[in-house]
């Protein structure tokens, strides 16, 4: 019997050696180890053996089973490995095909610039104030020291609704409204973003509707040097830490002294290029010390308090920051333009 078992083992191992597919392997497993397989067949004759022989033959039979099982297991392992490899090969994707992106829109570039500027000033302790787009003549002009017939009204041709109501030509009326609302309390530190309107024919640099951001600070000891310090900090945060400013005397009815502010060119850094018309400087905002009459009309004693104000055009800054060459892009709302701002 022992010989039979050995022969079975030899035969099984020989056959297993050449197995090349899982089906055949399974067949052989059934053939030799199955319930009706060859091994079982041989072991059926165990009953005829003596008590001494049985454990010996049993041991041999177990060894034979073990040897065959081991080979089958290793073959199975190999087949599984092969199968896995084949599946992985079959599942290969073209990694150069594009992925499915998250849906993603962008805020309008003007909103983006306004938010950036708001954040800079919020960081400097400013509140954000707002006012109506339709203003009274009083708040748009008179409260800002531009009485009727003032020559400065030449500078702004406005959209009137009635003799007394108009689309605001500047965000400065928000300053006047804020002062009255604060009832003489200090410090006042606000910025006011918003839409403004002027009767300009639209072209590459003009739009009858545009956006401004005004700032106003009132306190007991506000100096023109503080205005310079504030603006320098702002432009360095907005345009980069090497940005410089230059103030030139100018005129606004609501400030005295008044200044136009240039920044060193955002493109060339001041060495001169097409953007700055080879001057090295770009005009970006107007500012000055709040005119005593404006303080007075706002309920602040100009002998006790002083303040500064500044104002800038959002479109202008957006054009400089992003290199946009035509202001009309902002209001055409071509998605091919707007999607370019889907970035942090």
């Amino acid at each position: 019997m022992k010989e039979k078992l050995e022969a079975l083992k030899q035969e099984a191992l020989a056959q297993l050696q050449d197995v090349s597919d899982p089906q055949r392997l399974n067949d052989l497993r059934v053939k030799y180890l199955g319930k009706k397989g060859a091994l079982t067949e041989i072991l059926r004759g165990m009953g005829q053996l003596s008590a001494e022989e049985r454990p010996v033959i049993g041991q041999v039979a177990n060894d034979v089973r073990g040897a065959i099982e081991e080979v089958i297991a290793s073959k199975q392992e190999a087949f599984l490995q092969q199968e896995t490899e084949e599946r992985l090969r079959a599942e290969k994707v073209d990694v150069t095909l594009p992925g499915r992106k998250l849906a993603q829109g962008a805020i309008h570039p003007l909103s983006k610039v306004i938010q950036d500027i708001e954040d800079i000033f919020i960081g400097m302790g400013y509140r954000v104030a707002e006012g109506p787009e339709v203003e009274t003549d009083y708040f748009n002009f008179e409260a800002l020291n531009l009485p009727k017939n003032h020559p400065a009204r030449d500078m702004q041709d406005s959209f009137y609704l009635t003799e007394d109501l108009l689309m605001r030509t500047q965000t400065s009326p928000v300053q006047a409204r804020t002062m009255l609302a604060m009832e003489g309390e200090v410090p006042v530190k606000i910025i006011c973003p918003g839409r403004v309107f002027r009767r300009d024919d639209d072209d590459a640099t003009h739009s009858f509707q545009f956006h401004q951001i005004e700032g106003l600070v009132i306190g007991e000891n506000i100096r023109m040097s503080d205005l310079k310090g504030t603006l320098l900090q702002f432009v360095q945060e907005m345009f980069g830490e090497n940005t410089q400013i230059r103030l030139r005397p100018s005129f606004f009815p609501f400030t005295e002294p008044s200044a136009e502010v240039d920044v060193s060119c955002v493109k060339c850094g001041g060495s001169g290029c097409r953007v700055c018309k080879h001057t090295g400087w770009l005009e970006i905002l107007g500012c000055g010390m709040v005119h005593p009459k404006v303080l007075e009309m706002g309920g602040y004693d100009p002998e006790k308090y002083s303040g500064f104000a500044f104002g800038m055009g959002v479109e202008r800054i957006a054009m400089l920051k992003y290199g946009v060459d035509d202001i009309r892009h902002f209001f055409n709302n071509d998605t091919a333009f707007l999607k370019q701002f889907t970035r942090i």
Partner: protein
């Protein structure tokens, strides 16, 4: 204001200072100069020549052969094509080897076989603005006065060695609308002495009295504080001297004749507009300054008949207006070639009056633009004298003794007290009294000794813009140099910066929507009146507000809805082959409840949404779906969820809001404080309108933001996570098609008791199997008890209760 540096040098030495440098320094002191015009645009070897003879060219009809004495060793033969060339003229001659503006080189040449040794030039060929020349000189060669010296370089004769700075004046600096004003400014900047004309010394009067010939009275004393006139007799009208013409042209004014040119010259010099009347055309040489009568007519110098109004100031003579004060003279009393006696006016007219008149008549002149900004009252008499003396000199007139005058000039300088301490506190500087006084002396402002840090500063009347101490502080600051003011941080208490709740919510909405694939757009606040009537559901009582003077009909009404422009934007993008759109805008709507607008209209912020085309971008492995009502509604639900507004506060009603597809639109309401409040509208745009605008199926919504600001709940409160499993039951209910899913859910909620946690529709379909007019709604119900596991029996029981209610309410059948 165009300032000739050559002319400026009459009053102040510009030695060693180039025009560029000067312009830079003027700019940094506050008056911007962007343009410096070189009058000589590259002329060399052009001299004055005398045309000795002119003969026809033998072979060319249009050419002449001239013999010209140009001060060279020999006379020159020059072929010239100009019609107006003639023997006996003095003309500019470009010699062989000359250069002309535009890079033209003059060479010896043969023209149709005849030798030409140079070229006779037109004004244009010399680079001059020939629009300032009389018409006959625009077309042909430039003819110079007969007494011009032969051989003299033309640049000297025409004053072309000049550079003109264009001063871009802010409205407060009208003092620099004059050469003398500019000279004062330059003197303050350079710190150099001024030498000013002294007309009182120059003027020579004859014995006869002006008062015997002219008289002046003022009826409108508020509008005309001072009116002065001189009488100059026996003038000869002729061209003014070339140097004067050159200066006028440099300033951009066309020379006319000696009298008119002198009034213009002195206006440029002093900033005081003058007017010369033909004295013999005035009744008895007498004028009266008064307001116009309503409907009164006069013909102005430009030949136009003007109908006057009572707010206009006129100069009248013999009861009729002869000039519109400060704006334009009358045709009848104009100086003509035959004029002999001059009534010369110099006056101070009220700026506002002149401004209103010139605006209303659409008549702007050099004079009106100066009067509008208030001329210096102290210049009235000196300018009058200056012009009179020039008329004596260059028009052969006799200046009669005395000035006919009414009113008087308030020409005392203003005294303003300045505190040195305030100045330094205001600017953040540390200037000494001496430094400050030095600046004032450069400005020609006298300043007294300082007592207790206070200085009295005398401000001359020419600087009408300076009325307060802060104006003086600005003068000091700009001449000290803004660059020299230090840069400091604000001192004092710090303040926390912040956004308001509304601002913060708008920012959150922008973030949420952009991250959900929506693109922000910005429309205009103005729309077409027709557009204003399209989407009226949000505000049914309010009316649209119109602009009084719109630039176009398309932009003539304040927007009453964001949707018309969102649709325009969609159409614009569709035209550019960008049909898949998810857009939003946050902006204000304007409505009034008044018949006649007397106060500011209501301004309400809203969120507008638009979807069109397909969802998502075109991708290689995704089937894009066309957007529908539920994409839009889902966006709104996401917004409301995000703002913490509970779904059970919100209801959607298919009430057919205006402008939308009646079957695919709804209004959104919010339950708030016991009131049901309209929150917004949503739906497909009405197919008729879609067609009109060439749009594909487009869905849009408009949501009021003010209620959202109020209802936003940013407090997140933790709820215990469920510890026991829930049980799900699905129902397929067949009902009539018009039964709304919302009502089914509501009935289920009301009947399924507290165990019911969630109800969700997961399928809706119709089909012939269900029967005509029927639909199947599949609903999933989820039950859970907080403290124990549910039994099948209790879930079956509550479900049964809900089903029974559905059967009773809607005749619903359960589909097995």
């Amino acid at each position: 204001m165009r300032v000739s540096t050559d002319w400026l040098s009459d009053y102040i030495s510009l030695e060693g200072v180039s025009a560029e440098e000067l312009a830079g320094r003027i700019t940094s002191a506050g008056i911007e100069i962007d343009v410096i015009e070189k009058r000589n645009q590259g002329i060399s070897k052009v001299v004055v020549g005398y045309v000795k003879s002119k003969e026809k060219h033998p072979d060319a009809d249009k050419l002449n052969v001239c013999v010209v004495d140009a001060g060279q060793e020999e006379d020159l033969q020059i072929v010239c094509g100009a019609k107006n060339v003639d023997a006996g003229q003095k003309v500019p001659v470009a010699l062989v080897g000359a250069k002309l503006p535009g890079g033209l080189d003059i060479k010896k040449a043969k023209l149709r076989g005849v030798l030409s040794q140079g070229m006779i030039c037109s004004a244009k060929e010399l680079g001059m603005n020939d629009k300032l020349l009389p018409k006959e000189l625009q077309e042909g060669i430039l003819v110079l006065p007969a007494d011009t010296e032969i051989g003299k370089p033309i640049v000297d004769v025409l004053g072309l060695n000049d550079e003109v700075m264009e001063l871009d004046l802010t409205p407060n600096r009208s003092d620099c609308l004059s050469m003398l004003g500019a000279a004062y400014e330059v003197s303050a900047i350079l710190g150099r002495e001024l030498s000013l004309p002294e007309p009182e010394k120059d003027i020579v009067e004859v014995h006869e009295r002006a008062a015997d010939h002219i008289a002046v009275t003022i009826g409108a004393k508020e509008q005309c504080t001072h009116y002065a006139a001189r009488y100059i007799s026996g003038v000869t009208i002729a061209p003014s001297p070339l140097w004067m013409q050159n200066r006028l042209m440099a300033a951009g004014i066309r020379p006319i004749n000696n009298i008119v040119d002198i009034t213009n010259y002195v206006m440029l010099e002093y900033g005081q507009p003058l007017h010369a009347f033909d004295a013999d055309r005035l009744e008895n040489g007498a004028v009266h300054v008064r307001m116009a009568e309503d409907g009164e007519k006069m013909v102005t110098l430009d030949g136009q008949e003007r109908t006057l109004a009572p707010h206009m100031l006129v100069i009248a003579s013999g009861g009729k207006p002869v000039a519109l004060a400060g704006v334009m003279g009358g045709l009848d009393s104009e100086v003509t070639d035959n004029t002999v006696n001059i009534f010369l006016e110099s006056a101070k007219f009220d700026g506002g009056t002149v401004r209103k008149t010139s605006r209303q008549l659409g008549l702007r002149s050099e004079a009106s633009s100066r009067f509008e900004k208030e001329v210096d009252p102290a210049a009235v008499i000196p300018a009058l004298n200056r012009a009179a003396s020039l008329m004596a000199k260059y028009a052969g007139g006799k200046v009669h003794q005395g000035i006919a005058e009414a009113g008087s000039a308030a020409s005392e300088p203003k005294v303003i007290t300045l505190s040195l301490e305030k100045l330094n506190r205001y600017l953040g500087t540390d200037l000494s009294l001496l430094e400050v006084k030095t600046i004032f002396s450069r400005l020609h402002f006298a300043s007294g000794d300082a007592a207790q840090g206070l200085v009295d500063v005398q401000v001359p009347t020419r600087r009408g813009d300076i009325t307060l101490d802060v104006d003086l502080i600005e003068e000091v600051a700009r001449l000290y140099g803004y660059d020299n003011i230090p840069t400091t941080p604000i001192e004092g208490p710090t303040t926390p910066g912040s956004l308001t709740k509304a601002q913060a919510i708008r920012r959150s909405l922008r973030k949420l929507l952009t991250h959900g694939g929506f693109q922000e757009v910005l429309g205009y606040s103005f729309i077409h009146p027709k557009q204003a009537e399209r989407f009226t559901a949000l505000e049914q009582e309010g009316k649209a507000v119109k602009l009084a003077m719109p630039m176009s009909e398309d932009r003539s009404v304040l927007r009453t809805s964001l949707l018309p422009q969102l649709l325009d934007i969609a159409a614009y993008n569709l035209n550019r082959k960008q049909p898949d759109l998810a857009l939003f805008e946050i902006g204000n709507l304007f409505h009034t409840h008044e018949e006649v607008l007397t106060k500011q209209p209501q301004e309400r912020p809203v969120l507008g949404l638009l979807l069109s085309g397909r969802t998502g971008a075109k991708q290689w492995n995704v089937q894009p779906a066309k957007v529908d009502f539920f994409d839009l509604k889902g966006a709104i639900e996401t917004v409301l969820d995000y703002l913490g507004i509970a779904a059970d506060q919100i209801s959607y009603e298919a009430n057919q809001p205006a402008g939308f597809h009646p079957g695919r639109s709804a209004s959104v309401f919010v339950q708030h404080g016991g009131n049901k409040q309209l929150l917004g509208v949503l739906g497909q745009i009405h197919p008729k309108l879609q067609q009109e605008l060439d749009l594909e199926d487009t869905y849009a919504a408009e949501i009021l933001l003010a209620p959202l600001y109020e209802l936003t709940n940013d407090r997140v409160a933790y709820r215990d996570l469920p510890r026991f499993p829930g049980m799900e039951r699905d129902l397929a209910i067949v009902v009539n098609e018009e039964v709304e899913a919302g009502s089914l859910i509501q009935v289920i909620r009301e009947n399924a008791g507290e165990l019911l946690q969630q109800v969700q529709v997961f399928d809706v379909f119709t089909g012939s199997k269900l029967g005509e007019g029927k639909k199947s709604v599949a609903i999933s119900l989820m039950y859970r008890h907080q403290d124990r596991t549910l039994t099948d029996e209790e879930v079956a029981q509550v479900t049964e209760k809900a089903v029974t209610a559905l059967q009773q309410t809607f005749g619903a059948e359960l589909r097995k």
